[in-house]
Symmetry: C2
Subunit: 392 residues, 2 copies
């Protein structure tokens, strides 16, 4: 079927080298900015706090007025509206420090005596008093370009009075499902013999979003080279095109020759299992991944090629969620092939899921994760510790 | 301030024991069902495939007709519209098997000779032919109650012709921000001296969603016990109430006595650092967490108490994303306290982030993760390997 099969690792590397992170930006409201990546450094437009602030309950004082105070030699301060010259002002945490104050005497060190306070400790300047800009100074860089926003980051930006952030656009992922025998998912249409529901494109769409992309799935395209070409041409503004073939029709592989005609077919047939019929290429500046038709093969190709590509374009790390587990059973891999081996996972034990083929997603239903067996390794032995990547 | 501080581990355990997973369900469209948890077993309403299907390109045959065929002793079959009685039908992968066929002879083993085919191999019944229901049988349980839906699962359900799933409702998390000195986040209102923007409630809202809940944030409530009581009473239909105090006003802790009055104040003051002023309780069947005012303390309380509670209620695992890293520096923890220590993370090295207090989220801006130092451990040594939980 394929004259020469390409190495998975080298194919991925070649594809990644031809692409780059998305460089367009957009302003988004912070309330919806979770997971978005900053396009530029953010500097604070304000001082935080914006005023000298009491950091303790007690009495705002001029520190110098408490010099030498101790339980045996207390100093008496007069309660007033401003501090300094022997005066002090009662304050609670968070309140603005009154005029003349440069420190707060904790209430534990200050006994009220009518209109006076008996100070039994000395305080140094700025003790228990947060200065203007102490938390964040006006103009200070709070986040660098490339920072991925998490809830505390959004809270910090909101505390600076900001309501928007300039972030990288999500990479646009166009998904083109093809196949005469397919019926759109979720349609009420009944299946005729020979028909199946389109689900690889659906899977690609869901994953594109999870991995940080903005998916755009086009309506099902018939197995007609001209229609497929047209769909591709209409989506060359995307950052990535995923073409998915029919779920079961093996031979009518229209997409790879079209890739070759419209641009560059870099690879057709890769040493991954499942997923061998995967094709990769470039049309103009847009990378194209042709997913194999069998669902598990499509899943494998999505994880091996689309995931690193989309996360890179989205300025994210491709770091999967990994659990170290002991293998209960053997993983048989195909030497020279990158193997996407599904495993069940329970109480730290990974059980290989035996499956006859790549056709059936029900084998994935029982899989919690996958073990990637590299090309140069021949499977994994029973009892070995393996890194299980959780299926997202 | 607190007569007796409660153990973090025991407080959390006591709270979890009083609560349970949400048991209400709703039907959701599969296109938006990612991450939702099935309320019931799902059985297949159809056979998949719905017809006997060719699993190879070649000729559909009655297996018995190929008996004994080999390159040296080929068998000749007549090309026709139905199989059997010495006849065969050309088929391609995925096509319905024609009448009379119970196997497919691969095209590699079948040489066309005019109106006949020279079969050079024998096939057994059901060889290269997927039977009705072979992938998924009508009535077969495809997923069990409690399964969290991932893209391949949604694709599988869609392939069965389903478009909805009955899933557990997300736990309702009511967030009640309180504080006279606070101004809502994202408002255009300028801050007066002494004012700050409300961000702990915002952080709670964002995390509630990430952890699988359905947040409902009520407008800012003034520091008036009656208004706070009213807000709580109006939200007792929630599965969890988070009350966040002012970001900096330490002493006006209205919520814990209200908890005591309206229901049960289980804990006020916990041995976690930061986050000591956290309070926990129950009002009727609704657990209530009062977050401390300082932002990092609120973050710590969210991770230590709200995260396990919300994920449990949402039928999810609380498993954080963990990276094993070598400590570059020492983590000083408070003996007897569960310590939420922020660390930077680069190239497998975790650097403790020194910070004077719990007030400043900008210290979290530089933190990639946190190390939980248990109560019975006194810090972590320079060079130790530690488990870093990534900040979501």
């Amino acid at each position: 079927m394929f004259k020469e099969l390409a190495s998975a690792t080298e194919s991925l590397k070649a594809l990644l080298e031809r692409c780059g992170p998305v460089n367009r930006s957009e302003a988004v409201h912070l309330a919806g900015a979770f997971g978005r990546v900053l396009y530029e450094d953010v500097s604070s437009p304000v001082n935080l706090p914006g005023f000298n602030r009491a950091a303790m309950d007690g009495y705002a004082v001029r520190a110098a007025d408490t010099r030498g105070a101790s339980p045996l030699a207390p100093v008496y301060l007069q309660i007033d509206e401003a501090a300094g010259e022997g005066r002090c002002v009662p304050v609670r945490t968070g309140m603005p420090a009154p005029r003349g104050a440069d420190a707060v005497l904790m209430k534990e060190d200050a006994l009220p005596r009518g209109r006076e306070v008996e100070a039994t400790a000395e305080v140094h300047p700025y003790r228990n008093l947060a200065r203007v800009g102490e938390d964040v100074a006006l103009g200070e860089t709070v986040f660098r370009e490339g920072h991925k926003l998490r809830p505390p980051d959004i809270a910090l930006l909101a505390s600076l009075g900001l309501s928007e952030a300039q972030v990288y656009e999500r990479p646009k992922v166009a998904i083109i499902p093809t196949g005469n025998e397919l019926v759109p998912p979720f349609s009420t249409q009944q299946l005729e013999p020979g028909q199946a529901r389109e689900t690889n494109g659906l899977m690609g769409e869901l994953y594109a979003k999870i991995w940080g992309g903005s998916p755009r799935k086009v309506p099902l395209v018939e197995d007609d080279p001209n229609l497929i070409k047209e769909a591709i041409a209409q989506n060359l503004d995307a950052d990535l095109i995923l073409i998915s073939g029919g779920t079961s029709v093996g031979d009518e592989d229209y997409a790879p020759p079209i890739l070759d005609e419209m641009g560059e077919l870099m690879v057709h047939g890769v040493r991954i299992t499942p997923g061998k019929p995967t094709a990769l290429g470039m049309i103009e500046k847009t990378p194209v991944i042709c997913l194999p038709g069998y669902p598990v093969a499509a899943l494998s190709a999505l994880y091996i090629f689309a995931r690193p590509l989309i996360t890179m374009m989205a300025h994210r790390t491709a770091l999967p969620r990994v659990i170290l587990a002991r293998l209960d059973g053997k993983i048989v891999s195909r030497p020279g092939y990158l193997t996407f081996a599904r495993v069940g996972l329970k109480d730290g034990v990974a059980t290989p899921i035996m499956t006859s083929g790549a056709g059936i997603l029900s084998s994935v239903a029982r899989a919690e994760g996958y073990v990637m067996v590299p090309e140069e390794v021949e499977g994994r032995e029973n009892g070995e510790m393996v890194e299980v990547n959780l299926i997202e």
